[in-house]
């Protein structure tokens, strides 16, 4: 099981054909208190780079993009009642959605942990 990262601060964890997607700990720190998450509908097909979800902090709304293409197979309904899970555990319980990969080769364009860390440091 590997975790890859997008330059837009999403993480992708792949198990077989299914990828779980969330935003990174760095991203939630930048957002501040998350107060609302709008999730996609299960069954929707999304292409890499599409806007799939919205995360609202007290400060502002931010789009979450699909880091890879596929079909949404599950969303994290727990975030509707407890959006603060994104702050508390961005890399775990704060996941946003799962999608069935349509092109696993897209994963190769994403960063590994070391590369993402360098990306964050460059941005900061």
């Amino acid at each position: 099981m590997t975790t890859r990262y997008s330059k837009d601060h999403e993480w992708v964890r792949v198990e077989g054909e299914v990828a779980t997607v969330g935003i990174t700990t760095y991203a939630q720190e930048q957002l501040g208190d998350v107060v609302f998450v709008e999730l996609p509908e299960v069954g929707k097909t999304v292409a890499k780079g599409d806007e799939v979800a919205v995360v609202e902090s007290v400060k502002a709304a931010s789009e979450v993009y699909a880091p890879v293409s596929g079909e949404i197979v599950e969303t994290n309904g727990a975030l509707e009642g407890e959006p603060a899970k994104v702050n508390a555990d961005a890399a775990g319980e704060g996941w946003f959605f799962k999608l069935r990969l349509s092109d696993a080769s897209e994963l190769e364009a994403l960063m590994d942990e070391a590369a993402y860390k360098a990306h964050v440091e460059a941005e900061a």
Binding site: D8, Q30, G32, D33, F36, E56
Partner: protein, 382 residues
């Protein structure tokens, strides 16, 4: 993920700093550009700072705001000069009292909203202290200076800093600096010698809907005052993020959002700032429009909007009734004490009676009700 406003860890050199900048940075504040200043938007987190202010005492650096003295030969002359530019009653302001009023243009639009304070000290008769918005101070001071009669002048006080202490524990906290502070009434002002700080102008006022105080001291004393206050365990530093969510829940206008040069006080639901004497005399800028709006009702009105769902309508969101655009959101966000989304906006007269309106959030209609302001009851000292 994208869409958030850019965070600024690098400082453009043209941004001004308050005397407390170093303390904010040392306290781990996130600093952002605001009205030409680099200001703390948050320290620990907006929600935590907001709730702490409602429960205990929040400490705010508002030194970016513009302070100035209006100096005349006596109160009557100074008040009369200011009344030509604002619709409030300044003449009847008693020593040691303050009032909220509006600087108006000839069309009755709002150049700025401001506080006007008359010092308690009889020796300073003829002086008024003005506190204006940071982003508007240059405009305001030029407007005032060029319109004052002979014998009355405006002296900006750029070397005065300003702190706000807001929340139910404020009076208890400030009692340690001077025993008389807790006896101030709401909208009362007094010049006091604070322990460890020196001379200060203390007012019981604020911008959160809570009991609280604002303290004006010279730049070179504000660090000591900040340190004394921050050392109290009931006090937490609070940034501009929570200042905005607190004032929004309190239903208070923010210049550049609810107020601008096209908006009249009547549209903004600030009728209460224009007393009977001024209405009868009609002797303030924009009086024809404003008196007509008082008599006939304005074409649009500022209202509170409570979305029924959880999605958050922000500034700029269209307000619709069916397909028809009937207004615009001027401030919107999450209200931690209200427990959900809250907004203010302008709605056209014929849509004010609608049961529900739609706020357009990312292309989708979010139903909302027009509700009385404030969203969270004021708890001023009375």
């Amino acid at each position: 993920m994208a869409g958030q406003p850019p965070e600024t860890s690098s400082t453009p050199e043209d941004l001004k700093r308050t005397p407390l900048h170093g303390r904010h940075a040392a306290a781990g504040a996130k600093l952002v550009p605001f009205a030409g200043y680099e200001m703390p938007v948050q320290y620990r987190g907006i929600v935590a700072e907001h709730q702490w202010t409602r429960e205990k005492a929040g400490l705010f650096d508002v030194s970016h705001m513009g302070q100035a003295l209006l100096l005349g030969p006596d109160h009557e002359a100074a008040a009369k000069a200011l009344e030509t530019l604002v619709p409030g009653d300044i003449a009847s302001l008693k020593p040691g009292r303050m009032r909220y009023t509006l600087l108006l243009n000839e069309e009755g639009g709002v150049i700025d909203d401001l506080m006007v304070m008359r010092p308690a000290d009889r020796d300073r008769d003829g002086t008024l202290l003005l506190v204006v918005n940071a982003a508007r101070k240059d405009v305001d001071f030029a407007h005032l200076s060029s319109r004052l009669p002979a014998g009355v002048r405006l002296t900006p006080a750029p070397s005065l800093a300003l702190l706000a202490v807001q929340g139910p524990a404020s009076a208890g906290v400030l009692r340690a600096l001077h025993p008389d502070i807790a006896s101030l009434a709401f909208m009362e002002a007094r010049e006091l010698a604070l322990d460890g700080v020196g001379q200060a102008i203390v007012t019981r006022s604020g911008y959160t809907g809570e009991d609280g105080f604002e303290i004006s001291v010279p730049d070179d004393k504000v660090g000591e005052l900040w340190d004394l206050l921050a050392a109290d365990e009931r006090v937490m530093p609070v940034g501009l993020g929570a200042r905005d969510s607190l004032r929004l829940e309190a239903g208070l206008c923010l210049y550049g959002h609810e107020l601008d040069e096209t908006t009249s006080p009547i549209e903004a639901d600030l009728d209460w700032t224009i007393p009977k004497r001024r209405r009868e005399a009609g002797d303030f800028p924009g009086a024809p429009r404003i008196l007509r709006e008082i008599a006939e009702g304005p074409s649009r009105r500022r209202v509170g909007l409570k979305p029924e769902g959880r999605s958050i309508a922000r500034e700029g969101a269209e307000i619709r009734r069916g397909e028809e655009v009937v207004g615009i959101v001027t401030s919107g966000g999450f209200g931690p004490s209200a427990g959900g989304a809250v907004a203010m906006g302008y709605v056209s007269r014929d849509a004010l009676g609608a049961d529900t309106l739609d706020l357009v959030v990312r292309g989708k209609a979010a139903p909302a009700r027009i509700v009385p302001l404030p969203f969270v009851p004021h708890r001023y000292a009375r």
